[in-house]
Symmetry: C2
Subunit: 427 residues, 2 copies
């Protein structure tokens, strides 16, 4: 074993091992043996330490060679830390301030030293608690527009995008997780699936639904084949940390070159799930206001995304696609706007498909959401989940025949009020 061989950090060994790293020692301050270290990882794949010292603090995130949720029976390569590091640096360059600052990266130890965000909490947790955060729609709409536009051939040099595409093409194992757990397993009785028992009849109905199974696989085809831009790859509300004043996107280890609509669809799906889960969290009083807030967040996120994407299209379209030599330089600004409309319409249609599939996998697959899981009354949870499942099916299958979020959100309200389901389908 060389000095470089991977070793998982512990609260005890961390100060000694990282005290010698200048970037870490300077940021934390004081003698390493005096550092206060806590392990706070609650994810599935990694160790996360908060390190506090005399003058500062940071987070150490270290990948483990297996999926923590399942134990060492499911190995997962350490190189995902490499992809997370490279994604973070690109996201920071493309959407400054939207991700944690990175202080240090050690590839062999699969660890990243990054900014400790405090008093931030996970967005999913805030939404479950009923917090109406004022900035998330704007901040996340901007984040998506900036990273997705600037990582594509709309903006980058073709050579650089192709080199980056090749680099991230090696993130095979994490793509494989998405490919199987999101797009395939939920639609048949795969071994690791689970769902709330009361959903049995609806689950059987969905798994027998041919149009849905075809559409889910078409989304998988797009996910696997369309290497349009560097996507975050796991952009749900558990990958966002918030305060009322600040929004940060974390955990991009699933990053790869994929379709723009994937990030957008996954994020909006998680907002919709937060919406459908609210009825399960009304022990402290009605969540009607929170529901209205969430539907508004969905509309605003999409509007901000569209507006920023359009602004970038008009000012930073420096890549090889839809080049200005064909439009603006021919005095045809309208041609560029027409093309923009086509591109955004494509993102719209595909976003709905990815959103529908994301909702299904969170209720039928392996990795569930706290939004629903925290509802202790299982009959009530099943009601919330059933409405979300029906909603997901509708938007995935009908995505080409939906014109506005207003229309879809009305459907969401209808289903949430129990008016969209066949009578007696769920107890």
């Amino acid at each position: 074993m060389t000095d470089d061989a991977f070793q998982a950090l512990t609260v005890e060994t961390l100060p000694r091992r990282l005290g010698a790293v200048a970037a870490v020692a300077e940021k934390v301050g004081g003698a390493p043996q005096g550092w206060k270290v806590r392990e706070v990882g609650d994810g599935n794949l990694n160790l996360v330490f908060i390190v506090e010292g005399e003058t500062g603090s940071l987070v150490i995130k270290q990948a483990l060679p297996y999926v923590r949720l399942v134990g060492d029976s499911w190995p997962l390569p350490l190189k995902r830390s490499f992809f997370e590091y490279h994604a973070l640096t690109r996201q920071e360059a493309r959407a400054p301030g939207a991700v944690p600052k990175v202080f240090h990266f050690d590839e062999a130890q699969a660890l990243i030293a990054m900014e400790y965000l405090s008093p931030h909490i996970i967005l999913r947790r805030a939404l479950i608690q009923g917090q109406e955060l004022p900035r998330i729609a704007r901040d996340l709409g901007l984040f998506m527009a900036r990273t997705l536009f600037r990582g594509s051939d709309l903006c980058m040099k073709a050579r650089e995008r192709k080199a980056d595409l090749a680099l991230f093409a090696d993130n095979v194992e994490l793509c494989d997780i998405t490919e199987n757990l999101v797009f395939t397993d939920p639609y048949f009785g795969a071994p690791m699936n689970r769902h709330t028992p009361q959903l049995d009849p609806l689950v059987a109905e969905l798994r027998a639904d041919r149009d849905l199974r075809v559409e889910a696989q078409r989304m998988k085809h797009l996910f696997a084949a369309n290497a349009e831009t560097l996507v975050h790859g796991d952009l749900h509300t558990g990958s966002v940390m918030v305060t009322a004043q600040d929004t940060r996107v974390i955990d991009p280890e699933f990053a790869f070159y994929g379709p723009m609509a994937f990030d957008v669809g996954m994020l909006l799906a998680n907002f919709w799930m937060a919406f459908f889960a609210q009825r399960g969290h009304e022990t402290g009083g009605s969540r009607a206001g929170m529901r209205a807030y969430l539907l508004n967040v969905i509309e605003e996120t999409w509007r901000v995304f569209r507006e920023e994407f359009s602004a970038l299209w008009r000012t930073e379209r420096t890549g090889m696609l839809y080049h200005r030599s064909l439009y603006e330089e021919q005095n045809d600004t309208l041609g560029a706007e027409q093309a923009l409309g086509h591109v955004l319409h494509g993102v719209w249609e595909d976003m709905l498909g990815f959103a529908g599939v994301e909702i299904h996998r969170r209720i039928l697959g392996l990795a569930h959401n706290a939004d629903f899981e925290d509802i202790e009354d299982v009959a009530l949870r099943a009601q919330c989940e059933a409405a979300a499942l029906r909603f997901g099916r509708h938007i995935a299958v009908n995505r080409r025949h939906v014109t506005s979020l207003g229309e879809i959100n009305q459907l969401a309200q209808l289903l949430d009020e129990g008016r969209g389901a066949p009578a007696g389908r769920l107890s």
Copy 2:
């Protein structure tokens, strides 16, 4: 300079330099100094030698570090030989017998020793001469279905496809040629463009055509972003060698991971151009029969492609997309057929877009086709080209509203007979 440093072969140096390579010496036979060597390259990018000896023969193809057509002012990396070699081996594995056998590859010298195809001629030349080759539709339909299906996530292991995607992502310079010369330059007054002078009014009309400029760039977007399968990348009638009994696809140095529809669209476009060029080659008599033959070849090529693709879908769908666990294993064969229909419909729509753009670039851009170039009467040539240009515009812009090749071929006939153009547009 090391022994490995690239040196262009000559007729004189070839026997000495390749006589020591066992695979070459064995195939050719006899003493190298007795080999008969001819340089026959008529392409733009490479040296091509035919080597004949006592017991056999072969072709040596060597890349040059610049575009031969333009001279050394346009450098082009030797590594394209590496991509050609890797594409040839994959094509042979996926469509056995469809490409020349490879005997030897030398990466540093950028040379491939391969089967000498004789008495084969270039398909484009045969079609200009009016030869009705009986096998091309079937052979090329099968070649496309087999290589495009078997190189995608419909068939390959995801890990292997992603590794291969990364390998071919480095073929930047040749992709760049296609990206600029095919999709962008023809649609504005780019410096290297040229066209038959009589076309001036029509060219101005096409370059002012907003819908066309938008659609051409949408095709470019798809070309650049959709890494669906390993495409040949330059599958026109100049990349096919034929006899009445045999069809071989050559020159895959443009190979990369792109959309299936790109190869299909480029090939059919070149058949359509062969069709529109026939009126320029009637000095030896009417080409009415040849025109009917070519339209039939187009329909048959597409039909064979569809049939073979469908057969592979039913028997070799071993990749991660549209997995049998969701369809056949749920006793839902119809679901798999429904998905197949969607995939083929997508190829259909995109194929028409790529075909339209390919026709335009061959008449308006840098690299023209002998089909038209060989027509000495420039007024007649312009008439042929004008019909093709109008046809290309129609199929590219209306590709979502066309249902059959019968319908399009009828339009091609109408335009060819001079009935589709506004009166007086062309002299």
